[in-house]
């Protein structure tokens, strides 16, 4: 019987001859990631469990991003404890503050096709865009992996998402994943994996795929996997990795459900707080005034996203009533945006450009949205009160929709031209 992408990857790391959806298997982990909020707890629990040395100091990443730049002295204490763990265990992949964890994991080649990666963050599923089986866990389990290199995982059933057509101008892969979440709802893929396939996959860049996989967890999915193909291989080859696996599902793999999407027919989508799955065509909300806009996060903080915004904003000024916050996903993205003149364009348009990190998406750093204000945002969550006041209103949308909206001061369809 054929295997899904998840089954193939999990089998390759399990001491088993066959596996199928529903089995619980102990697997060898290829790498882990922990961020600043939880690294101190991982350290404390690791030693409390009786472990002395991590299983592999070259496969562990410790990344400061949720509290960068720190807001309080307590934040720095967390960073110090994380650094202590790095020093005690001689952990190689240490990033004291140069980008969002999920962006760095792909940018630095820490997560590679065909691998199993676990992270102390629910958006670890992002790496599925590069054909990595990646998902989030708590800090207690992270400590157990650091000690053993293993974790038990239930082999998920898979929902196949068959994609056809091409994205039209002004339409992004963000619109696709918002549409899928609106259809599946917040619990539609609990305990399951999503697997993206079909002719349209070859037309999506790695960055576009990462945006889609990033939000798989918003419909409850354990992982959101794209095949690793020529596009994936070309990306890793640029990083100097010549031998990454190309991996796809078997043609006769068994799926619990198949959904079809035609990218050509897709329109801009928005998700209205407080539920990510409350998704509508932008026409339902176009014209609503906005107070703030955010471009950044592990969903849409990549150079491709900044380029889209700069193209729309070049030579123009944002609406005077709008606060527009732009947070590049990493220092390298920031540097590239400087080189390409993107930072200058955004700056001249009136954007407030902040240091790389999770920014306001973590709900604790600059740009918090007050009660009664409305924000349009490129991130992945708009839960009740997450980004500020309990009566703030957050619309999730694509970078193009955000850029078009900051110009008019209203929610604006970027595919309609101006």
């Amino acid at each position: 019987m054929g295997m899904t992408l998840s089954e193939k990857i999990l089998l390759s790391r399990a001491e088993k001859k066959t596996i199928k959806a529903g089995d619980t298997v102990l697997v060898q982990v290829d790498g882990v990631m922990m961020h600043d909020l939880f690294a101190p707890k991982v350290r404390e629990i690791f030693y409390a469990m009786g472990f002395k040395k991590v299983w592999d100091n070259e496969r562990i990443a410790v990344i400061n991003d949720h509290l960068v730049p720190a807001k309080t002295p307590d934040d720095i204490e967390l960073h110090k404890m994380g650094r202590l763990f790095v020093e005690e265990q001689e952990i190689k992949r240490y990033h004291p503050g140069d980008g969002v964890c999920h962006i760095l994991m792909i940018e630095r080649g820490y997560a590679r096709p065909g691998e199993i990666i676990l992270g102390t963050d629910s958006h670890t599923c992002t790496y599925g865009g590069a054909g990595v089986f990646a998902t989030g866990i708590g800090y207690t389990e992270m400590a157990a992996i650091c000690g053993t290199g293993n974790i038990w995982l239930k082999v998920p059933e898979t929902i196949k998402i068959h994609l056809e057509g091409y994205l039209s101008p002004g339409i992004a892969s963000k619109d696709l994943i918002l549409k899928i979440i609106g259809d599946l709802k917040a619990d539609g893929a609990i305990y399951k994996a999503l697997e993206f396939s079909g002719p349209a996959v070859a037309g999506l860049s790695l960055a576009e795929r990462l945006t889609v996989s990033n939000m798989a967890v918003e419909c409850g999915a354990k992982a959101g996997l794209f095949p690793a193909d020529e596009i994936t291989a070309a990306y890793y080859s640029e990083l100097g990795e010549q031998s990454v696996a190309q991996i796809k599902a078997d043609p006769d793999a068994v799926y619990c459900r198949t959904m079809h999407y035609d990218l050509t027919a897709l329109t801009p989508q928005v998700s209205k707080s407080p539920n990510v799955d409350d998704v509508s065509d932008i026409a339902c909300f176009a014209g609503l005034e906005i107070d703030q806009a955010f471009l950044g996060s592990c969903t849409n903080g990549r150079i491709d996203d900044l380029r889209i915004a700069a193209k729309i904003l070049a030579g123009k000024k944002i609406h005077r009533n709008v606060r527009f916050i732009v947070t590049p996903g990493s220092q390298r993205i920031y540097e590239k945006a400087l080189e390409e003149g993107i930072i200058q364009v955004l700056h001249e348009s009136g954007a407030q450009i902040t240091a790389p990190g999770c920014g306001l998406c973590s709900g604790i750093l600059g740009g918090i949205v007050p009660n009664g204000d409305r924000m349009i945002s490129s991130n992945n969550r708009n839960f009740l009160g997450r980004l500020g006041g309990l009566t703030s209103e957050i619309f999730l949308a694509s970078p193009a929709t955000i850029a078009a909206s900051v110009l008019t001061g209203k929610i604006t369809d970027p595919s309609r031209g101006s």
């Binding site: 619980t24 939880f38 009786g50 509290l67 307590d74 389990e141 053993t148 539920n275």
Partner: protein, 165 residues
Amino acid sequence: MKISGKVFKFGNNIDTDIIIPTKYLVLPSLDEMARHIFEPLRGENFSAQLSPGDVITAGKNFGCGSSREQAVQCITACGVKLVIAESFSRLFFRNCINNGIYVIQSPSIPGMLSERDQVEIDINACEVKNITSGITAKFEPLSDFLYEIVQSGNLIDYFKTRKSW
């Protein structure tokens, strides 16, 4: 093992930002964090209403959103050792097991429980008894492997004695 207490009932898609908002994650102790449990929905003093043995029940997708294990640990810090929901986010489910919380997943049991009902749960007999209404129901037990972790108290104690999975 038997657990008895009052029921506190929540709806669908209760996310971990609601159980413990991000801004409280930097507080130095779990007890301080736990004072803010469910604050966005239930206001500032909800934790004072919870007593050891009480049970939290919810609808679909309980604990969705962020991986923050503090959401589960704040629940245990309030003395709650058992949660019942129609379905759970997988991350929250794992975090419950790893912190010694017994998890009952049932499409029907949350519907037979109301806020402040008195309940008794017999884990060995796989039975939930609603003392207030008199209704009883059976549930699917956890697998032996997961129950072993729950019975250890938490994953830390599990590893202290076993050293490996």
